[in-house]
Amino acid sequence: MGASIEGLGTARGARWQRRPSSVGLAVRAARRALRNAGCAAHEIDLLIHAGVYRDDNVAEPAIAPFIQRRIGANPGALATSPRRTFSFDLTNGTCGFLTALHVAAGYLRTGSIARALVVASDVNPTPSLSYGCSFEPAAAALVLGSSPSGSGFQAFGFESFEKDSNLFEGRVDWISGGRWRGLAPPRGRHALRISEDDAFVARCADHAAAAVERFLAAHALAVDDIDLLVPSWAPAGFPDAFAERLRHDPRVLLPERPERPHSAGPGLALEAALARARASGARSLLVVAAGAGISVALALYRLESGERVGA
């Protein structure tokens, strides 16, 4: 039993929005994905949010229940109700989206669930004080259902390269001091700090290209067996760097215009890949994500002939 994409949706923060909401973006993407899948929210058994940076730095509860309630995925159900939803957050930087798909596929494989929704969204949680935050608010959502074993996600691969863990860090720090407001001296405020080494994207591309080689070998495949190589759109610059490592193989799908999403990067790339596959008849896709760690995530996807996913 495999796992296949039934619908996909994306959303981007509007330029006029000073403080877009990560939950709001996630809900928009989720609704689009459900519409494309032709399924109702109450048919979702499992909801995983794979975004990293969220509204107001909320640590508890997970962001997923907020999304679950707003899209109407059985918010009032009990365990004995005929339909119910379980939701939680999963984070693995910009590899989180593919990691969450792998986890959801595990639940589908055992038959514990029939349908899952994986969503990723990020916003700058402290826009009035942040350092090094260059990503743009964006969200991607994907409805995943069961499929015959010959189609859908065939395999996932994950590697990590801890020696390069210092090349990218995202954290929220307490900064003491600040502007006087009223009589009391300011204690300080929390600020998002993202530090990205100049070598980060290049190292992501190096590790990703090598991981692709090992993944294909492990599955007795060659690059020629893949119709589309789909690098995630995050981190910024990764698609071009990855394409360069693969000597600008024409099968590498690049974004039409530069975008700077974060955890939604693989979802946005997959949306473009599915559109290309519909146009070209491509059947096999290899999605490649990389991010802080450095971690690399790979997902091999097979489309049925004539399958129109995400339309």
């Binding site: 309630r69 995925a73 009032g76 119910r84 055992t110």
Partner: protein
Amino acid sequence: MRPPDTSAAGPPRTADRERAPALPARSRIESLGLELPSTRLSTAELLASCRRGFRVDLEGLTGIRERRVCAEGEDSFTLAIDAASDCLAHSRHEPRDLEVLISCGITKYKGRESYRFEPPLSLAVKEAIGASQALHFDITNACAGMLTGVSILNEFIRAGSVRCGMVVSGEYISSISSNATRHVRGLFSRELASLTVGDAGSALILERAPEGSVGVEACELLTHARHDRLCIGGACPDGPGASMKTRPRKLHDVAIRVGVSVMRKALERSGLERMDQIDVMIPHQTSIRAIHAGRKYSQAELGSFARDVVVNVDRYGNTASTTLFMALYQCLEERRLRPGQRVMLMSYASGVVAGALVFTVDELVERYGRLD
């Protein structure tokens, strides 16, 4: 020019390669680990530091006498790493055997005032303990985090794609208490529950059980998202660390009602009919009053209840995602469990999330509680 070093720490992890057991496979808890800070803080000492003339008998209200709190140099990372190391010390597995490592804490402090989002905490734990083969990721699901991690790993094992993995959590959560001492005024303060927490690290290894042996019988979780705003925690607006605001009474009432339905489902999945077929219940540790009220309500709804209910909140407070497996560890150390006994771990969390894990105790008991 030398080519860049792109070698992975081990062979590529192709995580869903089939292993050919009889499916679905059964999982079992192979080992547990615990890390408690050595610094003790009594409820009386905590209340003495409240700034606004706070006059509530918190110990009388909750039964919490003291809790452990991190000292300088301790944080979510150190608690998680030490708990993971303790778990491996009790395990037959080597770090390289771990195929998955899931970090499940609400808090992700590396340093007392720095909350780290990337790289994930699971990567730091994996690196520290040498679990070079493990797929790593973080899970957040409030106090149900570790049970959520167990659910995920259980599904991988049931599907036959993983043999063993680790679920770990390090909770440096006591900053919500110290921040609350500046804000709380009385019994109805939204930060009252923040005064009940304590710090701890917990870890467990879940593995594929040999065919025909006992292990996990049910792992049921549900999110009742209608009440998603009854407990909200995040960065403190006026100080380092975190703060948390709760509507404790409403949260408790919703949680135990949802929890009863989860217990029913878990019993059904385990092939049981009555709660008194459960020998030992370990509920999420919030307060003694809440635990007894939950037991009374559940017993009335279900007709019976577990024979033994474990309580340790009086000594450690609410240690967030680590409460269940910390209490299980202590049951093992105190030799309260026997092979063949059926145990239910019951989680309640903001979201509102309720979850139940039912398993049968096996030879795990032999590796704990040894007299030195």
